[in-house]
């Protein structure tokens, strides 16, 4: 294991990630952003989070995530739609996926 190279990689990733995180707040403080654009920015965060849900639920690497995981997310999603308590949503999603795997479903 090349320790200096590893530390370099970790260091640049840390600085890069922090820069990406602080970029939004810094930009917003420097420039007056019209209300119309602010609405668009709020929608952008929702769009990205939704895409994250879709890819995390349905894909693993560049392939499919199988059946158990999407099934669990679906159960959680339906419960969320029906305004079930948050705890129930989380536990039901996990239990559905875990239960299906116990039965041998991928």
């Amino acid at each position: 294991m090349n320790t200096p190279l590893l530390l370099t990689g970790i260091g640049i990733l840390a600085v890069g990630t922090f820069s990406l995180r602080i970029a939004g707040p810094v930009l917003r403080s420097r420039f007056e952003i019209p209300e119309r654009i602010q609405g668009l920015l709020a929608a952008a965060a929702i769009v990205l989070l939704t895409a994250l849900v879709a890819t995390a639920a349905l894909t693993a690497g560049s392939g499919s995530a199988g059946i158990a995981r999407p099934a669990g997310v679906l159960v959680g999603g339906v419960l969320a739609w029906r305004k079930a308590p948050f705890v129930l949503i989380v536990v039901a999603a996990a239990a559905t996926a875990a239960g299906l795997r116990l039965l041998g479903v991928p």
Binding site: M1, L5, T8, G9, I10, I12, L13, A14, G16, T17, F18, L20, R21, I22, A23, G24, P25, L27, R28, S29, R36, G39, L40, L41, A42, A43, A45, I46, V47, L48, L49, T50, A51, L52, V53, A54, T55, A56, S62, G63, R69, P70, G72, V73, G76, G77, L79, A80, W81, F86, V87, I89, V90, V91, A93, A94, T96, A97, A98, R101
Partner: protein, 230 residues
């Protein structure tokens, strides 16, 4: 907003919800630490990444590439790519992050989960409280989990057995669902999700989610007359 007023502002239900997500993050951290050490990395690699990078998906990707024999530089590039979505998050939650020293600390505490929690609240005080309580709680639980996992080594390597891989998308889905009741936002989000899924087989991790921004082409700012009175 002081730490004390964060706790005062949080209502009990929101505090419990955030606590639950922190706990789940801790368990995922446990598996991340164990996978890293089990894969042959020294214990300090997952631990250091968790403190200075503090972004789960990019950390899994980084150690995964290095364990597979890839260069730490390639792992770093992949990690940065996955974290680019934080630019959009930062633009959306800059008021919650705050200014001065809070901007430095608050930016580091930015995660998918606390951003989603903040966006889901309906008044500015609650939004800010949710952002900070979520960020601090997840930071603590995640790092404790990683530390324990790294020490435990190969005890817990597969949290898929507990279905936690399904719990996380479900958490984010539950948090964005109220915003998706707005028709224009929903259309943009659905188009974005389809773009992300369609490009996943062909692009490196992180890019598909960025490409989802294309969905914003379908976003129409609500007409002022139709906006609910603030």
């Amino acid at each position: 907003m002081s730490m004390r007023s964060i706790w005062r502002t949080l209502d009990r239900r929101l505090a419990r919800d955030i606590g639950l997500v922190c706990l789940a993050d801790g368990v995922v951290g446990l598996s991340y630490g164990a996978i890293s050490v089990g894969g042959g990395l020294p214990w300090w690699v997952p631990v250091l990444l968790s403190i200075v990078v503090f972004a789960g998906a990019s950390q899994f990707l980084f150690v995964g590439i290095v364990i597979a024999g890839g260069s730490p530089i390639a792992a770093m590039i992949a990690g940065v790519l996955v974290n680019t979505r934080h630019v959009a998050f930062g633009l959306a939650v800059s008021d919650e992050v705050g200014s001065g020293w809070r901007r430095w600390l608050g930016s580091h505490l930015m995660t998918d989960e606390n951003v989603a929690f903040a966006i889901g609240q309906d008044n500015p005080r609650q939004r800010r409280a949710a952002y900070w309580a979520g960020g601090i709680g997840i930071f603590i639980c995640w790092n404790i989990g990683v530390l324990l996992g790294s020490a435990a080594g190969s005890v817990i390597t597969d949290t898929d057995v507990f279905g936690l891989d399904a719990a996380f998308p479900a958490v984010l889905l539950a948090l964005v669902l109220p915003a998706l009741r707005d028709r224009s936002t929903r259309t943009a989000a659905l188009v974005g999700a389809v773009v992300a899924l369609a490009t996943t087989p062909f692009l490196p991790a992180g890019l598909p989610v960025l490409f989802a921004s294309a969905g914003l082409l379908f976003y129409r700012t609500p007409k002022p007359a139709l906006e609910p009175a603030a």
